[in-house]
């Protein structure tokens, strides 16, 4: 990756996903962070993208209704005699 050719579109389109996941190549990370330091819109975009991920991961799993567990067992019993 040539730092001279690095721009907002490349950063947001091609780098941001790995950057947010912490799986980015260290050399590319340095270039991206250098870009973020000097680019307010990209900085705001990166922050809001990361917040989107954080909020999504905070959404709790919905409990499986107890009645559904019973219906699953009844269904399997009818179909195969188990469990």
């Amino acid at each position: 990756m040539n730092p001279q050719k690095f721009n907002c579109k490349y950063g947001i389109g091609k780098v941001l996903c790995d950057y947010a996941d912490g799986t980015i190549d260290p050399a590319v990370k340095r270039i991206f962070e250098k870009h973020l330091e000097g680019c307010e819109p990209c900085w705001a975009f990166m922050r809001t993208y990361s917040t989107t991920i954080r909020l999504t991961r905070e959404i709790p799993a919905e409990e499986m209704p107890e009645e559904m567990r019973k219906r699953l067992r009844n269904f399997l019993k009818e179909q195969i005699g188990s469990p």
């Binding site: 721009n7 907002c8 579109k9 490349y10 947001i12 389109g13 941001l16 996903c17 790995d18 947010a20 799986t23 680019c39 307010e40 819109p41 990209c42 900085w43 705001a44 975009f45 922050r47 809001t48 993208y49 990361s50 917040t51 989107t52 991920i53 909020l55 999504t56 991961r57 905070e58 959404i59 799993a61 919905e62 409990e63 499986m64 209704p65 559904m68 567990r69 219906r71 699953l72 067992r73 269904f75 399997l76 179909q79 195969i80 005699g81 188990s82 469990p83």
Partner: protein
């Protein structure tokens, strides 16, 4: 099963592999019951997120475990049992989605901001600190759940498995039968779409 947990806790009792072996070799009902108990909530949650409604999720749940029982002999054990199970569940959920009226497709360009000569030209508001307020955070999560329902099936599956079920990209790739770069691409698109919906929400709140 979830990478959100720093360490996977091994289930108490026999391993999945041991239960699968018993089920394969002798149709062991107790082994099947243990597999059902171990994974029913996870399969339900995946099915609910993919189909978006409880009735379809329940049908996916039932079809998945029936299929597991009937096809267990075809499971060769090359991948983890949980990956195979998730793939079965995801396929049943896909079938439900395919019968629905297709939504208008949104392209990558539609979820990206505007660039001129590679330079971001939109004014981007940094609302990342706003969900610190609990009420706002809850409302924002509602926006996310509604936006997940709008995702095209391929993006939705990658997003749900990775972001909501906490699986690693490599595992999502195996389940969906696609490459890791394809998983990342679908995931990124979905995140951009959800981010856009949240940005619209925060913009409305400030009006």
């Amino acid at each position: 099963m979830s990478s959100k947990q720093t360490k996977k806790r091994a289930p108490k009792g026999p391993s999945d592999g041991e239960l699968v072996r018993r089920l394969k070799e002798s149709g062991d009902a107790a082994a099947f019951e243990e597999l059902v108990s171990r994974y029913e909530a996870k399969v339900y949650h995946l099915a609910l997120r993919l189909t978006g409604n409880q009735q379809d999720a329940e049908e996916v749940l039932q079809d998945t475990f029936l299929q597991v029982y009937n096809k267990i002999k075809t499971f060769r054990g090359e991948a983890a049992f949980s990956s195979w199970l998730y793939r079965v569940a995801a396929n049943f959920a896909y079938m439900k989605l395919r019968h629905r009226k297709a939504r208008p497709q949104v392209s990558l360009e539609d979820v990206l901001p505007n660039f001129e000569n590679g330079r971001l030209v939109d004014q981007i508001t940094d609302w990342s600190g706003r969900p610190d307020d609990e009420a706002v955070r809850d409302e924002a999560k509602g926006i996310i759940l509604a936006a997940v329902e709008e995702l095209p099936p391929n993006n939705k599956a990658a997003f749900v498995l990775r972001e909501m079920e906490g699986l690693a990209n490599a595992e999502v790739a195996k389940i969906l039968g696609i490459t890791v770069p394809a998983v990342k691409s679908r995931l990124h698109w979905a995140r951009l779409f959800l981010r856009k919906r949240l940005a619209e929400y925060f913009e409305r709140r400030t009006e």
